[in-house]
């Protein structure tokens, strides 16, 4: 055991005391496929006597069954724990392992080398202090080595070990080692990795892992373990200004109102002046509450509950910050984005964005460029595909408090979530805001929503008619507008044709253009609803995500989705403009229903079955709904 067995046996108390005060190093292994990452970790655990007898017996059996090393032990099997990994001899997802030595505690994340699984590598890297980048001595620096190095730098890992592995297969040649080290040095410098320590090793045989190897007498640098145990990790979060995203408002009874969260940087004490962002209200810390008693001070990393001297409205996602050094507040940013979705990014589509404890709607503009990880060239692009890295502008639906990622991972890192699949499709790092709105004071509007309602005699609403081409949207929309007008309601009809001729004449019918078309229409509809109108928007709007975005932008209580439900064969039979025929002849590309998908609404407010009701009855259905919702009397 690397644990001091004697101390454990004779003075366990003292041993535990020492344990408690050890520092912790979080590191990852990364690099190209088959360079020996998992083997390295397995071997490291084994050398550190951290593999138990029963696990060793299992390893022997597994090695014989699925190992890649013939009769020898396949140490990778100690970490590659999934059935699919063992069968294929590869790593698919990150494995986290924990171990400690006399000097330090370690959490290591073994990440996959395959490009396909880059997002799992990023997962492991996001929390690491140090990266061990492996290179197969026979193959040298590969694209994937560069990609991982680039990601390591982007994610803010400052310490790197270049592990030149499988040296046993090149006769422990110093030349090969030196060649790889110098090949890598230039690239590392370009991407801003300054602290690179190169170590020659054989993960399989254990050379230079915990002891200096006799096979590399020419090497007098540290062993891997020696380096990991002593490398200084500077934790400057403590010296940074105080920040705490509010996760949960703690209200056990009317007399207590606390704000729970984990301090992400700085120090806080009762009496400190703090600001609540984005609102900008200021107060002082009253108490720092924990179950073990109130604290006189709390520091970065601690989870606490803070009460304030004044009654201020604070909710989840707000950030408490020291009044002396505020984070920025903005709604438009430039950021690095790593795309992780199977489907490529759609510029202008709305994604959910999680930043700190806040979730906002975000739109990504067309990427400024993507980065070729091999050459570091910036190339123009319209989108980002799986595993691509680019620089994009982001626009949020409201201002958020933030710091640059390089200053604070927690207030500068974000993830993007697809609204339909709910999957995490991107991760990003804020660089800077495009428009500072640090002193936001919303324009005070004297004429408010209620005032307009009273004047209008009804409440605003967006009636969103969706359905196939030829389903009957326009006919129903016309009838509906006639009926509402007769009531004295103020209406406006927006439809594909009147919008495509003006506002959107620069757009075609590709998926990306359709998304943009609907986005613009949604914004216009919202403005009109703000002005107090009942807007009838009649658009094929084939994608669920866009309609969902429209609903969220307009606000669910002002949005009514009307599904004009006509089966494709019937709509095609009607074909009032002859478009289906054209599409069938191949003269019209991207035609909804033919070669472009229509995603029917799952739970529309009103569904109109045009095979059984007349346009008049259909309009009646919508009017009934508006009455039931209290939009019109």
């Amino acid at each position: 055991m690397t644990h001091s067995t004697d101390l454990i046996a004779h003075d366990i108390e003292q041993y535990l005391e020492r344990q408690a005060n050890k520092t912790m190093l979080r590191f990852i292994t990364c690099g190209s496929v088959d360079d020996g990452k998992s083997t390295l970790i397995g071997r490291l655990l084994y050398e550190s006597k951290l593999v138990f007898e029963d696990q060793l017996t299992a390893l022997e059996a597994d090695s014989r069954k699925v190992g890649t090393q013939g009769e020898g032990l396949d140490f990778a099997l100690l970490v590659d724990g999934l059935a699919a990994e063992r069968e294929q001899g590869i790593t698919i997802d990150v494995a986290y392992r924990y171990f400690s030595t006399e000097q330090r505690k370690f959490v290591v994340a073994d990440t996959p080398g395959h490009e396909q699984y880059t997002r799992n590598m990023v997962t492991g890297a996001s929390t690491a202090d140090l990266a061990v980048i492996l290179v197969d001595a026979r193959k040298g620096v590969l694209t994937q080595t560069r990609r991982h190095s680039y990601l390591v730098s982007l994610l803010g890992i400052r310490h790197v070990v270049l592990a030149v592995n499988k040296l046993d297969l090149v006769g422990y040649s110093e030349e090969v080692f030196e060649q790889i080290v110098s090949d890598y040095a230039g690239f590392a410098k370009e991407i801003g990795l300054d602290d690179v320590v190169a170590i020659p090793m054989s993960a399989y045989h254990g050379d230079n892992l915990t002891e200096h190897s006799l096979s590399t007498p020419w090497y007098d640098g540290p062993t891997l373990m020696g380096h990991l145990e002593t490398v200084e990790i500077d934790d400057d979060l403590l010296a940074s200004p105080f920040r705490m995203p509010v996760q949960w408002v703690n209200r056990p009874d009317l007399d207590f109102r606390g704000f729970s969260g984990q301090i992400v940087s700085g120090v806080v004490r009762p009496g400190d002046r703090v600001r609540v962002l984005p609102s900008g209200k200021e107060s002082a810390v009253a108490r720092i509450v924990t179950m073990d008693g109130d604290l006189t001070e709390a520091v970065a990393g601690q989870s606490v509950t803070i009460t304030l001297a004044d009654e201020i409205d604070i909710s989840r996602g707000d950030v408490l910050a020291t009044a002396d050094a505020l984070p920025g507040v903005a709604d438009q940013f430039e950021a690095h984005v790593v795309w992780m979705g199977e489907d490529e990014m759609l510029p202008e589509r709305s994604y959910l964005c999680q930043i700190g404890a806040m979730t906002v709607q975000a739109r990504i503009t067309k990427p400024k460029h993507k980065i070729n990880v091999n050459t570091l060239e910036k190339t123009a692009t319209n989108t980002l595909a799986l595993n691509e890295i680019g620089v994009c502008n982001l626009s949020f639906d409201r201002p958020v408090p933030y710091d640059a990622y390089t200053a604070n991972r927690d207030t500068g890192g974000f993830i993007l979530i697809d609204r339909l699949t709910n999957g995490t499709v991107g991760a990003g790092m804020l660089a800077h805001s495009l428009r500072r709105s640090d002193n936001i004071h919303w324009q005070v509007v004297d004429v408010d929503e209620r005032a307009r309602e009273q004047l209008m005699g009804h409440r605003p609403q967006v009636l969103w008619l969706t359905g196939l081409s030829g389903s009957g949207k326009s006919t129903i929309a016309n009838e509906l507008e006639r009926r509402l007008h007769a009531f004295g309601a103020h209406t406006y009809l927006l439809d594909g044709d009147n919008v495509r001729h003006g506002l959107n004449r620069d757009l075609g019918f590709t998926d990306a253009d359709r998304v943009e078309n609907i986005r613009r229409v949604t914004e216009v509809a919202r403005l009109m609803a703000d002005a107090g109108l009942i807007v009838i928007a009649s658009f094929i709007s084939p994608f669920r995500a866009e309609r969902q975005a429209a609903r969220e932008l307009v606000g669910p209580e002002q949005f009514c989705e009307v599904y004009v439900d006509t089966p494709l064969d019937i709509a095609e039979g009607r074909d009032p403009k002859g478009l289906y025929k054209k599409a069938r002849r191949g003269e019209l590309a991207n035609f909804t229903g033919i070669d472009s998908a229509y995603e029917p609404p799952r739970s529309p407010e009103v569904r109109i079955d045009t095979t059984s009701v007349s346009p008049e009855q259909a309009a009646g259905q919508v009017v009934d709904f508006l009455r039931s919702r209290g939009v019109i009397a």
């Binding site: 990150v94 207590f256 999957g423």
Partner: protein, 310 residues
């Protein structure tokens, strides 16, 4: 912690346990803030005890904002039921107990039906039933990544399909301390606040915080029989003895707790927490060796989880 600014690289500001505690609390608050109907699985073991303690800290001074759920098999050790009932009697929480009614009716047990069927029907099926019955959309579990190789691969927030299946190849990226808690209709979340704890951390924390645990973790003379190299405690009269088997009093303790007929004891004289920690540090076998269900096949845990085991 008065000298925070003069921190040296060897003297961390927060101790290791303080950091783990803060992380777990953060995880629990995220899950509670973002889910509609969370629940904490409470198995009465040491990990559950730690998880419960952390939950009390996370939401103090509020009451726990979720109930505890004990998926009972009727075959747990008697001392486990005692601690469970004491916990419920503390009065600061709600405890639900679920027993799969089909198992009750058919008297499913490990002796007649085998350990696999027993575990599958009482635990896996029972858990699914309970989650479904109460419409829980997020469930806290006390699993740790250091327990087993496939656990080492699992995210802290783990999505399960409507059939409660885990798909290890489709895990969401999980960056920083940012958790995507969104799920589609029917899907549910498993949340593992102790993911980054090791067995040693758990014991040290129990010692530091003086958390009550089932006495079976401490060595005492107990009646055991040896079967297939495993020491099984004869905890009640339902345990059928094989011909020639005679319970023997041995000083034993348990490293994990489950159904008594399926849980192996280790011979030990560790009577205090410090003894346990000492013994653990000097031992040469892993914790899960005491679990009969894990011996079935080497990939058995991953398979079980794909089928909906916690």
């Amino acid at each position: 912690m008065n000298n925070v600014h003069s921190m040296s690289a060897t003297q961390p500001v927060l101790t290791h346990l303080e950091r783990l505690e803060a992380e777990s609390i953060h995880i629990m608050r995220e899950a509670v803030a973002e889910s509609e109907n969370p629940v904490m699985l409470y198995s009465v073991g040491k990990d559950s005890a730690v998880m419960l303690h952390l939950a009390r800290k996370a939401f103090f001074p509020s009451r726990l904002p979720f109930p505890l759920l004990h998926v009972d098999t009727t075959w747990k050790f008697r001392e486990m039921y005692e601690l469970r009932d004491e916990t419920a009697a503390a009065g600061d929480l709600d405890l639900l107990v679920h027993k799969n009614p089909e198992c009750v009716e058919k008297s499913i047990n490990p002796f007649t039906h085998g350990s696999a069927t027993h575990t599958d029907m009482w635990k896996t099926e029972g858990l699914k039933q309970a989650l479904h019955l109460h419409k829980f959309d997020a469930a806290f579990g006390g699993a740790r990544r250091d327990e087993e190789k496939s656990r080492a691969k699992e995210r802290i927030f783990s999505i399960r399909s409507a059939e409660h299946r885990w798909d290890p190849k489709q895990q969401r990226p999980e960056l920083w301390r940012m958790y995507n808690v969104r799920k589609s209709p029917g899907e549910s979340l498993r949340v593992f606040p102790l993911s980054n704890w090791t067995e040693l951390d758990v014991w040290e924390y129990i010692r530091q915080e003086q958390i009550p645990i089932v006495p079976l973790y401490f060595a005492a003379k107990r009646p055991v029989v040896e079967r297939d190299g495993t020491l099984i405690m004869v905890d009640d009269e339902r345990m059928p003895l094989l011909p020639g088997e005679e319970p023997e009093l041995k000083s034993v303790r348990f490293r994990t707790l489950g159904c008594y007929p399926l849980t192996g004891a280790v011979e030990s004289v560790a009577e205090s927490l410090t003894d346990i920690i000492q013994e653990m540090l000097l031992t040469t076998t892993s914790e899960r060796q005491g679990r009969v269900i894990d011996h079935d096949s080497s990939a058995s845990m991953e398979k079980k989880k794909k089928e909906g085991y916690f």
